[in-house]
Amino acid sequence: MSQLHVHPDGSEDHGHPEHLGHHWNDSVQQFEAGKLGMWLFLATEVLLFGGLFCAYAVWRANHPEIFKYGSQFLSTTWGAINTGVLLTSSLTMAMAVTYAARGRMTAVVVCLLLTLMGAAGFMAIKYVEYSHKFHEGFYPGMSFYEEPHASELWLPLEETAAVVKAATLAGEEAGSVALAAEMKTRAELPTEPAEAQGWNKPAAGIGPAGLTTDQQNIDMAEMSVFLPPSVLGNLEDLDAELAYAEHHAADEPVVLPHPLQDPDRPVNAQKFFTIYFLMTGLHGIHVIGGAVVITWLLILTLRRRFGAKYYTPIDLGGLYWHIVDVIWIFLFPLFYLI
């Protein structure tokens, strides 16, 4: 029978209050459904960021020195201030919800405005930080060097000093400018006498070859066969990192040398800024999204659309704003407090 009362768009029912969809029994049912829906959406947000947190965890666990090094370039003060700003805006948002439930709509408007200001402040500070980084040339990605030729992979294993010199001569004799130059470049490579590199030795001499199930002892010996020590020297190894970091912490320079000018910078140092910009960037987008939502709520409130009986959108908008806050609560220590 009810179908006769439903408007063509199927959205409202004369038996219902304005805000109640035709398929709901009462406001409470609709409110609770909205709430559950919002929380499910928040769960997807958690997993969305979860991907980035996973990338962070993997890279930090395997290359802690990169993060120790990179975080020195971030300003803890700004980070802390921003945390404060975001927490306060969370408070005002929560207050807005309470006032809405009590039907005090003027207070709601004030609180929403304050929250909006909090969002603006947060983005302003982020802008300051970002522009400073860009000015120094810290972009995400490969800003620290051009993309290398991955195809020179076996190179460190391939050349011996003797071969290089011979080849260089040969190249020049053959009148090959290109080749000679080429060989000179290779001559720069750290190289070892052929015997030390050991692939002329019989296989038995190669030591514990073979992937064993616990990979801790895997192939180190073997790589020392294939790889010159200078390259081996770069192998990640916790003590080395700690020692390195310690040396850095001990005489922490007032002005850090720019990574491009710093030969001691860890391998792949740019990865810290990649992940920093990715995570804070995605979070920033969410802040902007939240700001838009709050503005929308503000407009609806001013249009007297909400009251003590119906303030679901404010409540849900609040939930979204709080999750943005929660994510920042984790981002702050992960990047600024290393």
């Binding site: 993997v58 020297g233 407090l337």
Partner: protein, 140 residues
């Protein structure tokens, strides 16, 4: 929903303003604590790992407070809490297994910079040894 809400005649639970303010102050204090701890530990890097543990611990506490009070989780149906916890558990699962694996095969990664980068850095070392630090490699 607890009957408590119906007494207010409101559709959801109402959190008193005072409680909200207290919560926020607590959160701000906790933030200050983490920063302080971080600065403190930075003096002695052997505490570096401990540093991150403290920071994460505090972060978890803050997250819980926000969820329970600002986000009304304390007064909501338990299923909603289950959804939230569940999502976090799945993230943990994802991170945990991926971490375990990458840790395992890390030794087989080609170590160090790729040859060209290594060349640049060696050149840089040489240049600085020669004392002319002004031209480093150009950015791209």
């Amino acid at each position: 929903m607890s009957s408590h809400e119906h007494e207010h005649g409101a559709v959801g639970h109402i959190v008193p303003i005072k409680l909200l303010v207290i919560t926020c102050i607590a959160l701000l204090i906790l933030t200050a604590v983490t920063v302080w701890v971080a600065k403190l530990d930075f003096e002695d890097l052997r505490m570096g790992e401990m540093n991150i543990l403290v920071a994460m611990g505090v972060a978890v506490v803050k997250c819980t407070i926000v969820a329970l009070i600002f986000m009304h989780l304390r007064w909501d149906r338990s299923f909603i809490g289950f959804v939230f916890i569940g999502s976090i558990l799945f993230v943990g699962l994802f991170i945990g297994l991926a971490l375990l694996d990458t840790k395992e095969y890390q030794p087989t990664m080609v170590p160090g910079n790729s040859p060209q980068v290594q060349l640049k850095l060696d050149a840089l070392h040489a240049a600085q040894a020669a004392g002319e630090t002004k031209h480093g490699p150009t950015e791209h």
